[in-house]
């Protein structure tokens, strides 16, 4: 039986995303992909599959999804209130949904980007080397309500329901930077002031970048003359003409002419993208050695997270139509029942 997700209610921030496109920088197309790569890795860890598989990224609106066939899903990233046929689902966990289940997801106000990964991944054809929407480039676009998102073959149908405690990335904090080719455009005093400034994440933010707010003067390079446009990468902290810093995201432009203070470590970028509006942010320069020490590729991150995941204890009374979906779905067996493989009895 074919397995799919059918989007019943969405919005402009509901997109398919994967790890982005590689090889198109020279053509002016930035990598794109999930705004919070760690959430994609967590979803992959919960489902026991590759983080390269495409998932649904959700920001800015409530989402409703109907399942076709029995589908394992993992819910990660910015927490959302989640129910399936009215029953509450734990966040940062994976769940088996029966055929025709109706999933409702509502943003909680913490963080920005929630993710729904499904076993087998969203199996749409690649366009320009990827499955994800690159909104800034006008490449693909939000998922339209009524769209059927086919799923690939489930690599691990015998999995059990698990949950994890995600790395905290919704409340801001100190973000680590690497100095770059343009750091020296700013005076030592200006860099010191930048690192001593309390910033807040503003509501102005999207996959292209996040605008910061601070009290006091804007930041300015030593030489105000126009710079030669140069290669820009996600994580760059760019100072716009009015002195306001922006942290550039996965859909940033590939070449830009604004001066840049430095580059946020890729492992810290999700904490900027996901920082709840108004969350405090500070910046600290680190050495390349320190930066590399805790960098993990998405696959490494998924393995580490998987090792920390714990069984999800579910009360069987929370699954009233369990018998029905076993019969209808035909894809689950008694051994797959979520609470049985946790090794725990229900209360």
């Amino acid at each position: 039986m074919s397995r799919a997700l059918i989007l019943r209610r969405g919005g402009p921030g509901v997109t398919v995303q994967d790890l982005g496109r590689v090889g198109f920088l020279a053509s002016g197309l930035s990598r794109g992909g999930a705004a919070d790569v760690a959430a994609l890795a967590e979803g992959a860890a919960l489902l026991g599959q590759s983080p390269e598989l495409a998932a649904l990224e959700m920001t800015g609106s409530a989402v409703e999804i109907e399942t076709e066939g029995a589908v394992w899903v993992a819910l990660t990233g910015a927490p959302m209130a989640a129910t399936a046929d009215g029953e509450r689902l734990a966040w940062s966990a994976c769940h088996l949904l029966g055929p025709g289940a109706w999933l409702r997801l509502t943003p909680s106000g913490r963080g920005h980007y929630g993710y729904l990964s499904a076993a087998g991944g969203i199996d749409l054809p690649q366009v320009v080397g990827g499955r994800g929407a690159h909104l800034a480039a006008g490449l693909l676009g939000p998922v339209e309500p009524g769209s059927i998102l086919p799923l690939g073959a489930d690599p691990l149908p015998g999995r059990t329901a698990r949950r994890l405690v995600p790395a905290e990335r919704f409340s801001g904090g100190t973000i680590r930077l690497l100095a770059g080719p343009q750091t020296a455009l700013f005076s030592d005093a200006e860099i010191a002031r930048f690192c001593a400034t309390d910033f807040k994440r503003t509501a102005w933010g999207n996959r292209q970048g996040v605008r910061l707010h601070h009290d006091g003067e804007g930041f300015a390079p030593l030489d105000g003359r126009s710079l030669l446009s140069e290669t820009v990468v996600p994580g760059d902290v760019q100072i716009a003409g009015d002195g306001v810093p922006y942290v550039l995201g996965c859909e940033c432009q590939t070449i830009g002419g604004y001066p840049r203070v430095g580059t946020v470590l890729p492992q810290d970028l999700p904490r900027v993208m996901q920082a709840t509006t108004g969350a405090p942010l500070r910046f600290a320069f680190v050495t390349p050695q320190a930066a590399r020490a805790d960098y993990r590729t998405p696959a490494q991150l998924a393995r580490e997270v998987a090792a920390r995941a714990e069984p999800l204890i579910r009360d069987p009374r929370d699954i009233p139509d369990l018998l029905a979906y076993q019969l209808v779905g035909g894809a689950v067996t008694g051994e797959d029942l979520p609470w049985e493989q946790t090794g725990e009895d229900g209360p």
């Binding site: 480039a137 006008g138 100095a179 770059g180 140069e230 290669t231 070449i255 890729p266």
Partner: protein, 247 residues
């Protein structure tokens, strides 16, 4: 961090955890662009282990590596050795470049700021059309937006500063001019450049093969056509543009 940026070129520096940027100049010039294009091709050919992708900007070459598979110190050493192996500012341009002839309506309703740009350049509109149409402009870089070429350089009289506001809205395929360069817009945009013409050429075609017809190093000639021809060109392959190999 020093108070005065070092201005010795070419220079190599880290750009983020997984990138290295080689810069050939602080200001655009033909030799610096030539160096960036030629060095990018040489880095590509060198096939350093762990390199994920390579791109070039107006006067720089960028290399992104897989932090798990490449050692940035040895990669930097390899780039330094390659950099020192020749004078990249005089290097031949890479192979496989093409000359594009793109039918273009210059001026009039489709290029409403050509007259203003020409007067700022100190010549008549007719002279401006003739001079721009006679230029072979190099795709010096592709970037900012997908497929969007920076084309240069025009004669010095066209060194017009960008307009301070971004109120000019241009449609896809529009040609705009400033700072001795032209840009060919892939999509509707706001711009501070002078809107001088219109093509039916699309430099980003998401479902096309290739999706990005232009490559850095290609050359472009804007062949003037009448406004009435634009509609027919819109349904022609590549907006009526032709491409031939450059020696």
């Amino acid at each position: 961090m020093t108070a005065t940026p070092p201005q010795v070129f070419p220079r190599i520096g880290a750009l983020g955890l997984d990138g290295i940027l080689v810069q050939f100049a602080a200001r655009l010039s033909e030799p610096a662009n030539r160096a960036a294009l030629a060095f990018r091709a040489a880095v590509d050919a060198a096939a350093f282990p762990g390199v994920a992708e390579i791109s070039s900007s107006l006067a720089g070459t960028y290399l992104r590596f897989d932090p798990d598979a490449a050692d940035p110190a040895s990669l930097t050493d390899g780039l330094r050795a390659l950099l020192d192996s020749r004078d990249w500012y005089r290097a031949p341009l890479p192979h496989n470049r093409r000359l594009w002839r793109i039918p273009t309506v210059l001026g009039g309703d489709h290029g409403p700021q050509l007259e203003l740009a020409a007067s700022l350049a100190g010549i008549s509109t007719a002279e401006a059309v003739a001079e721009i149409a006679a230029c072979r402009l190099r795709v010096m870089a592709i970037g900012f937006a997908p497929g969007q070429p920076y084309l240069g350089e025009l004669p010095d009289r066209w060194n017009l500063p960008r307009q301070s506001d971004l109120k000019t809205r241009v449609p896809p395929g529009a040609v705009a001019l400033a700072v001795r360069q032209c840009v060919l817009f892939p999509a509707e945009s706001a711009t501070g450049w002078y809107h001088i013409g219109q093509t039916a050429f699309r430099c980003f075609r998401p479902t096309g093969d290739p999706a990005f017809p232009l490559s850095p190093g290609d050359e472009i000639v804007f062949d003037p056509v009448a406004p009435k021809d634009l509609e027919a060109l819109a349904s022609a392959p590549a907006g009526g543009a032709t491409a031939e190999p450059l020696a």
